[in-house]
Subunit: 339 residues, 2 copies
DNA sequence: GTGAAAGCGCTAACAG
DNA sequence: CTGTTAGCGCTTTCAC
């Protein structure tokens, strides 16, 4: 058997076994922390492992165990989106961070189209033990059906939870938006308007309904709402339309920071100032708002934490431990200079 | 042999072979596009594959072929960095985009410390066929030694290419910075200053030397240089120091957009305007600059392309095809309203 | 507790 | 061109 031990390449289980003077089975047990190995033998094996600098071969292990120890993260490309939206980077970071302490690997898949055939094949082809799919504002759950065959955790509430049992972690958009509007009225603004997000996206509708709810809670009301697509230019456009209505406005709640920044320019174009004439509050707390002039008051969304929770949930799911179907994260109002 | 065909789970090569009435070897050949299979047999096999919805088992394949078809992407966490720097997201996107058309998978590894032991083990443990490491401004090549045992491609020129033969793709920082300064003098600014990046990072030194070179090319000179760490606050600080010198300044070249944005605030604090009193040009073209007021004139860095090229290079390296050691990408001056 | 033996699904000589 | 024959490195009954 000794002659079977090749010298080049990586050390194998067999080499460790030889070195430690035990069988491969025993080494395997030690590696997998099996309880039924006598402490002394385990020690010897452990020493051999360290000595040889042995690292188990993932492919071989996964071939027999039927588990890949890999988790896919699917993010929609939407061309510019991934690039322009700091949110994704943060979520990925959170996921990677959590996974670092586990034996799982993160496989990134940036989707060109929506739910391509190729990606499906990959996910269903036994390449990963589970999948994470993020869509930020869109609520796109075109991967919903996958969950019948593979553990899947979504980032963001699904637009319509048809299957009814999708696992996801989301941010409490409603409460967060309430705190934003609350802040506006608390600082004496009474003629409020809002730049809403698309009404076919969960965060879009939640943040808008929070606007109305909070207003009426204070005996106020407003029909000054214009919709944007979450991009800076769309925010500027919406603001111009709002201003064009000719009604007085002293406070704006934008459904996200990018649109709030867009609103800044429209407000300045009109010769008005922030927050002098119009106070502005955004949502997300990304670098668009934090580096703007004046720094934007906004609602912080715990993106990294969202990634962590998603990772935590998918791992639990894979390992068949009990998990909540949905996890909702709290937001935090960050008061800066715009309101 | 027929009784060996289990019905549950995923279809195997053997099942396809049975269905097509050929040997497993033949199926394998078809799957791997081997030229030596008669067209008609190939067709039958192909049909069986489609019929059974067969997808080759990666683990089994990689176990025997000794290739994982996976490529790792290592990015330094640097806590806030990944989160705040749009550059990383863009590179990752480029990499993923290129890899989408290949059989390779992208494994993301976000580094906590610098070059942790755990990551090394992972990379050297045969989990991936190659690695991509990005460090943006830092030029950190603490993974250099890895390249002796694993194909590695770096993003950004190494600080000191000790081993002399590291593969990397970089942006032409010098030429890009020259075009920025050139633009400043072309628009009539003569009292130029620069906010340089750290002088222990390649982009920091290249962009600064370009400043001096371009100036002298026009018979100008300037000792108005202050250094920042590429973050917005550091840019503001540097600008304040510059202004505090009391010498007249009518143009600023900031080594990156984030610092340029920081400079904006310092300039305004001083009661000056952009570009009225001081023209500002940045470098990178990220969303910090594009959404600022006024929109920042800057040097666009092809981040996505950089990712694509890195991916292309690593794949070529893995497949032992000839590749250039270094690839340098051109930049492009984006003229907006700040200069 | 520990070892022996039997594969996991696939590729790669080697014959025919 | 196609089938046969060996394993790749590891886990896992099943005996001892």
């Amino acid at each position: 058997m000794a002659e079977k031990l090749r010298s080049g390449s990586m050390p194998t289980l067999e080499m460790v076994a030889a070195e430690a003077g035990v069988s491969r089975a025993t080494v395997s047990r030690v590696v997998n922390q099996s309880p039924k190995v006598s402490p002394d033998v385990a020690a010897v094996v452990q020493a051999a492992i360290e000595h040889l600098n042995y690292v188990p071969n993932r492919a071989a292990r996964s071939l027999v165990s039927r588990r890949t120890q890999a988790i896919a993260m699917v993010v929609p490309e939407s061309a510019a989106k991934v690039f322009d939206d700091p949110f994704f980077a943060a979520v990925v970071q959170g996921v990677a961070q959590y996974l670092e302490d586990t034996d799982y690997t993160l496989n990134m898949i940036i989707e060109s189209g929506s739910a391509s055939h190729k990606t499906r094949r990959y996910l269903l082809g036994g390449n990963v033990d589970g999948a994470l799919v993020v869509s930020h504002h869109t609520g796109d759950h075109s991967y919903s059906e996958l969950s019948r065959n593979l553990p899947v955790v979504f980032g963001g509430r699904p637009l319509s939870d048809v299957d009814g049992d999708n696992y996801y972690v989301d941010v409490d958009n409603f409460t967060g938006a309430c705190s934003a509007v609350e802040h506006l009225v608390a600082s004496g603004r009474t003629r409020l308007a809002t730049i809403a997000g698309p009404q076919d996206m969960p965060p879009g509708v939640d943040r808008l309904s929070a606007f109305h709810t909070t207003l009426s809670k204070h005996g106020l009301t407003s029909d000054l709402v214009e919709t944007g697509d979450f991009s800076p230019p769309s925010g500027a456009e919406a603001m111009r339309r709002l201003l064009a209505r000719g009604e007085p406005i002293d406070g704006i709640f934008a459904a996200n920071d990018q649109m709030a920044i867009g609103a800044y320019s429209a407000i300045r174009e009109a010769g008005l100032s922030v927050p002098g004439d119009i106070a502005v509050v955004g949502f997300d707390d990304d670098n668009y708002g934090s580096t703007a002039t004046p720094p934007l008051t906004t609602v912080r969304q715990p993106s990294i934490e969202m990634g962590r929770r998603m990772a935590e949930k998918i791992v639990a799911l894979i390992e068949k431990r009990a998990v909540d179907t949905v996890t909702t994260l709290n937001t935090e109002l960050v008061i800066r200079d715009s309101a």
